[in-house]
Amino acid sequence: MISINHYLVLSTILFFVGIYGFIARKNMLAVLISVELVLNAVEINFSVFNRYLYPEQMEGMFFSLFGIAISAAETAVAIAIIINVYRNIQNIDIRHIDKLKG
């Protein structure tokens, strides 16, 4: 029997791999990919908690569902911003995006 801890350990690993990528990558698209990993781990957690602790209800499943849709929207806007940045400075390296720095 797969216990709940199996899933939680897996999603913990995925979450912190995403955190690592968020800190360490320099390409904006790679940072966005790491954010997707983090969101994905969170959605696994929602549905696992729902299935194991409250199998009669489905709140967690709907949270995952809405989370997937919201992360799709977030990705679309972020990619639009990235393409715009690329059009302006021909680069999507986060070290070169410092126009707002004082």
Partner: protein, 173 residues
């Protein structure tokens, strides 16, 4: 017998997902990272199938693996004149990232492994308790307690705003 085969499938999926996730954040080529992200997302759909959330697995495959990945590939092609450019590594950032991720992972791992959940997991919880499509549909379209018409509509407004915003931001002025 069935339970142990479930466990084997879970371990296979987990190993696949962890390796793909690490490749997705560690590979220098952005295109390879996107492909590894696709593998992680497909593995997640497999996990949802293991949990008997068939609708969620279908949504995961169609929205994430179908939609978002195509978006990523378009963005990579649009922002990378050399196609598959190699990204030089920044040692300080890598060390910072490993340190931060390890600290967080250790704390969370200890909490997860020491936790005894308040409600014991019933044995048949994961059996053949599939949420039927009809139940999902009524819950998504109803206005009573535990039904989700309002968030659903708010989400559609969000998606509309997102489409308009994306066009506004990305169009040539």
């Amino acid at each position: 017998m069935e339970l142990s085969s479930n466990l084997i499938i879970f371990y296979l999926l987990a190993a696949f997902m962890v390796v793909s996730a690490i490749l997705a954040v560690a590979s220098k080529r952005i295109m390879r990272a996107a492909t590894c992200l696709l593998f992680v997302l497909i593995g997640t759909a497999g996990l949802y199938l293991l949990l008997n959330y068939h609708f969620l697995a279908a949504v995961q495959l169609s929205v994430y693996a179908g939609g978002i990945l195509v978006l990523f590939l378009f963005a990579i092609f649009l922002t990378n004149p050399k196609g598959d450019a190699v990204e030089p590594r920044d040692k300080r950032r890598v060390i910072m990232g490993i340190a931060g991720a390890l600290c967080g992972a250790v704390v969370t791992g200890i909490i997860v492994l020491k936790q005894f959940f308040l409600y014991p997991v019933p044995d048949g919880a994961i059996g053949d308790h599939e949420v039927s499509m009809k139940v999902i549909g009524t819950a998504l379209m109803g206005t009573e307690k535990y039904q989700y018409l309002l968030p659903f509509e708010a989400l559609s407004v969000l998606l509309l705003a997102c489409i308009i915003g994306g066009i506004l931001i990305a169009r040539k002025s």
